[in-house]
């Protein structure tokens, strides 16, 4: 259970790494520490052996054995010394701090002799480093460090009174000093224990910190995601994760939320069409079964009604039967009507292909050769979900308009298609705006740039009037009908219920004046500032959203252009600029079609230079 948890795995990995580092570090540390301690002991032993040698040299020359015994015994009593011995060449212990072993013979294989006597002929010179040895006589005894110091023959030896040594001898004997390593070993053990304690405390602290961090930053959000997936798997598509961070897990949570949202919508749509389909079958069955008996009722009653002229009372009753039966008929009919409401005939389509079909339609009008058609189509255009027939009509209308704008002169029509990605602000049309009592503020009778505007009533003391905002979010266009400045205690009201549309708590963070607020159904609150030149606005759901993908088609001509004053009314029905030539419906139809596809249409025009129509169809419908 525990080893399945990501928090445990991560902590375990981190702690294992730390442990390895500590062990390696401690090992090297203890090694170097014991080396320096040993060399200290060794130096001490060498100094001591030199001291013993020089202390006894005079007595040796005098061959005063008693004094030599005394010196060695005295020095050997020191606590830091195990024992001091002098061997002669044949291996006999001549002097020793342990009186009991004097006179004993030492085997050439003994640890103190081994260095020189390991190879047949005994060595006469030993390197300083090779004189030292560390050994343990019994498993229970402390480790010992021994240093051997050869006593070389010298002229004073063979010329002294005792004539104990012939001149031919090189080494007369060996001074062997051994010292216990108890202190050193104790120090090393202490270091080992310290390293152990360090390792354990580091492991504990590290696992605590890493564990907490993992828990806080990874485990918890992952657990939340897990809970969310269980909810979604269980069918609760309304479940949302509260996003707290902006890291990868936060982004994961956010995209999870948008996924469930899309899923919920898709399911709703599926559910809806499924419902419609079964309702359609039900309606068909009901219509068939009920309409035959209703026919008899309706025919007989209406027949009797015709025949009962002059009998007012009977006629009244029959009238009720007839009208109620007709009501039944209408109910059944409305059931059938409802079942007939199918989804729009939108399909995935390639805009370039549609442009191709549209140009094929108007090609014969181009054949005079005056007008050249230039196409710049992006081959990698994403497919869009549209009604191909309607969109084709849009392009035909725009190209026919371009042809008419060029008129009798020669000219060029350029059709460009490309994929673009823009932030919704400035391009998103608000189609419904609700006051606190849920009245729709969008007024279909007043249009700004051809789109139904958002209407609000203002009131200041005695003056009152209407103000219209552009429905394009972030465009900051509004029609002011002699409206007094916003900051001077003005009220903004719903035209229908006179509820205030000003935010009570908030003021514009940019200029400090009052801000209006209304709700877009399902998409949250929109706030904005109306003060001159401020233009602050906020719509959290849109401001934080990503760019939207569009397919953009531009139809450009170098014809006569449209006077600026006519542009705002261009898309309204019967606003023709062509006089007798057009019906005035072409652009209204075009606008209606593009709007039906949640697209936008823009016009750029200069008189005498030309006109460009820009159509954007969202890739995601």
């Amino acid at each position: 259970m525990l080893d399945n948890k990501i928090a445990f795995k991560l902590t375990f990995g981190v702690v294992l790494t730390a442990l390895l580092a500590i062990v390696i570090f401690a090992w090297f540390n203890i090694q170097s520490q014991s080396k320096s301690l040993l060399s200290e002991v060794e130096r001490h032993a060498r100094q001591l052996s030199e001291a013993v040698k020089s202390d006894t040299e005079y007595d040796m020359l005098r061959n005063d054995r008693e004094r030599i015994h005394e010196s060695i015994r005295r020095i050997g009593q020191q606590a830091s010394i195990d024992r001091i011995r002098v061997f002669n060449k044949s291996g006999e212990i001549i002097y020793s701090s342990e009186e009991s072993e004097i006179g004993a013979m030492v085997d050439q294989k003994a640890e103190s002799c081994y260095r020189c006597h390991s190879v047949g002929e005994p060595l006469e010179h030993l390197e300083t480093t090779e004189r030292t040895r560390i050994f343990q006589p019994h498993p229970d005894s402390p480790r010992l460090l021994g240093i051997i110091d050869p006593i070389y023959n010298s002229p004073s030896c063979w010329s002294s009174a005792c004539h104990a040594h012939p001149e031919s001898q090189t080494v007369l004997g060996v001074l062997d000093v051994t010292m216990p390593l108890t202190d050193v070993d104790q120090n090393i053990r202490r270091s080992q224990v310290a390293a152990g304690i360090l390792a354990i405390s580091v492991i504990l602290i590290l696992s605590l910190i890493v564990g907490l961090m993992v828990r806080w930053w990874i485990d918890r959000p992952v657990q939340e995601l897990l809970t969310a997936t269980r909810h979604v798997a269980g069918g609760n598509l309304a479940y949302r994760i509260e996003v707290k961070t902006d890291d990868e897990l936060g982004m994961l949570a956010r995209s999870f939320n948008s996924m469930t949202e899309n899923l919920a919508q898709a399911r709703l749509q599926l559910f809806q069409s499924d419902k419609l389909a079964s309702l359609g079958r039900l309606a068909a069955g009901v219509a068939h079964e009920i309409n035959n008996p209703l026919t008899a009722v309706l025919t007989y009653s209406s027949y009797l009604l015709k025949r009962s002229q002059g009998k007012a009372e009977v006629q009244n009753d029959l009238n009720v039967i007839v009208s109620e039966t007709i009501r039944c008929r209408e109910i059944v009919k409305s059931l059938l009507d409802f079942a007939r409401q199918t989804v729009p005939k939108k399909r995935q389509a390639d805009i370039n292909e549609i442009i191709g079909r549209a140009t094929a339609v108007i090609e014969n009008q181009l054949s005079l050769g005056r007008v050249k058609l230039v196409m710049e189509l992006d081959a990698d255009l994403p497919k869009v979900t549209v009604d191909a027939n309607q969109i084709q009509q849009v392009f035909i209308n725009l190209m026919v308009n371009a042809l008419d704008a060029i008129g009798e002169d020669s000219g060029v029509i350029k059709v460009t298609s490309k994929a673009i990605s823009v932030h919704p602000a400035g391009f998103l049309q608000i189609k419904r705006a609700l006051c606190p009592k849920r009245h729709d503020l969008v007024d279909r009778m007043v249009k700004i740039d051809g789109k139904p505007a958002i209407g609000m009533r203002f009131r200041k003391k005695e003056t009152t009037g209407l103000i219209y905002l552009s429905p394009m979010y972030g465009s900051h266009e509004h029609r002011l009908n002699d409206m007094p400045p916003i900051e001077e205690g003005i009220e903004l009201l719903c035209p229908e219920c006179s509820r205030s549309l000003l935010s009570e708590e908030e003021v514009c963070p940019r200029c400090g004046s009052a801000v209006y607020a209304f709700e877009v159904p399902l998409k949250g609150m929109v706030q904005g500032c109306l003060a001159d030149g401020c233009g602050w606005h906020r719509w959290e759901q849109v401001d934080s959203s990503w760019n939207d993908e569009f397919v953009e088609v531009r139809v450009e001509d170098d014809g006569c252009g449209i006077p600026e004053a006519q542009i705002p009314k261009l898309f309204e029905p019967f606003a023709t600029t062509k006089g007798q030539k057009g019906t005035g419906l072409g652009l209204a139809v075009t606008w209606g079609i593009v709007d039906n596809h949640n697209g936008t249409i823009l016009v750029e025009s200069r008189v005498g230079v030309g006109t460009t129509f820009i159509i954007r169809i969202p890739v995601k419908s």
Partner: protein
């Protein structure tokens, strides 16, 4: 044996045929009723009828199969289709199939039934007249000049596609003649959606009978001919030009056109 009777009604629902018999007999018409199409075929072989009323959904031989059978046997008696399941397809097929002249959806009132019967009888008489004058006996015949690029839904209504993707719709002159003169016209409002096969306007004739004008094409109404509404005689005088009814935006004209005849 050659008895001439007015009406032959075919429906597997006895209450419906009985009701039709009652209403029509009261108006002085001679009516024969039958519950199945094969018996109806026998009656038609033996005698003569001025009009057949036939249900579409029948168990043995359905209404459209019955029409095919009539066509195969060369019986030219005009047929009015009835159905309790008034789908667009049923309505449109009833108006366009060979042999069928008109369509009535159940349930209907006595007056509605009589209106359709009288209109169909007049239509048949007009077609007979044309035939005897050496003209082709066809539902799309016209007495007045009509545009070349228009399409008709039976003898009822016409549609003309315009370059801008819009379409204009109106009433055919044979229908206006068969309903015996138009006195009042009631039209829908701009913005409303029209459906092919469903009435889009009602016309009241000189005798006061009310006739539904079946729409020839799906679409949203962009413009209503107010001149025609205020002066219905305009429709009668110039049904294909000044007497149009609506300008609509059809979402999918190709789909609708397959049912229409040019």
């Amino acid at each position: 044996m050659s008895i001439l009777r007015d009406i032959l009604v075919i429906d597997d629902e006895l209450t419906v045929t009985q009701a039709v018999v009652k209403v029509c007999s009261a108006e002085g018409m001679t009516v024969t009723a039958t519950g199945n199409a094969s018996e109806a075929l026998r009656f038609l072989e033996d005698g003569k009828f001025r009009l057949v009323l036939c249900d579409i959904m029948m168990s043995e031989l359905d209404g459209f199969q019955f029409l095919e059978e009539l066509d195969r046997r060369g019986i030219q008696t005009p047929v009015v289709m009835m159905t309790g399941y008034s789908t667009v397809e049923n309505a449109v097929r009833s108006l366009t199939s060979t042999g069928a002249v008109d369509y009535i959806s159940k349930p209907f009132t006595a007056d509605e039934l009589l209106t359709v019967i009288r209109r169909s009888l007049r239509c048949a008489a007009l077609l007979d007249e044309a035939e005897s004058a050496g003209l082709p006996r066809h539902k799309s015949m016209s007495y007045v000049p009509c545009p070349a690029n228009h399409y008709r839904l039976g003898y009822v209504s016409w549609v003309m596609l315009e370059d801008e993707g819009t379409a204009r719709i109106g009433v055919c002159d044979l229908f206006l003649k068969a309903m015996d003169g138009i006195r009042e016209l009631e039209l829908s409002l701009p913005g409303e959606d029209l459906v092919q096969g469903i009435p889009c306007a009602t016309a009241t004739s000189q005798d006061g009978s009310v006739h539904g004008i079946i729409c020839p094409m799906d679409g949203t109404i962009l413009e209503v001919n107010t001149d025609a509404q205020s002066n219905p005689s305009l429709v009668e005088k110039d049904p294909y030009f000044k007497g149009w009814l609506y300008r609509i935006l059809p979402p999918n004209p190709e789909n609708n056109l397959q049912w229409l005849s040019s």
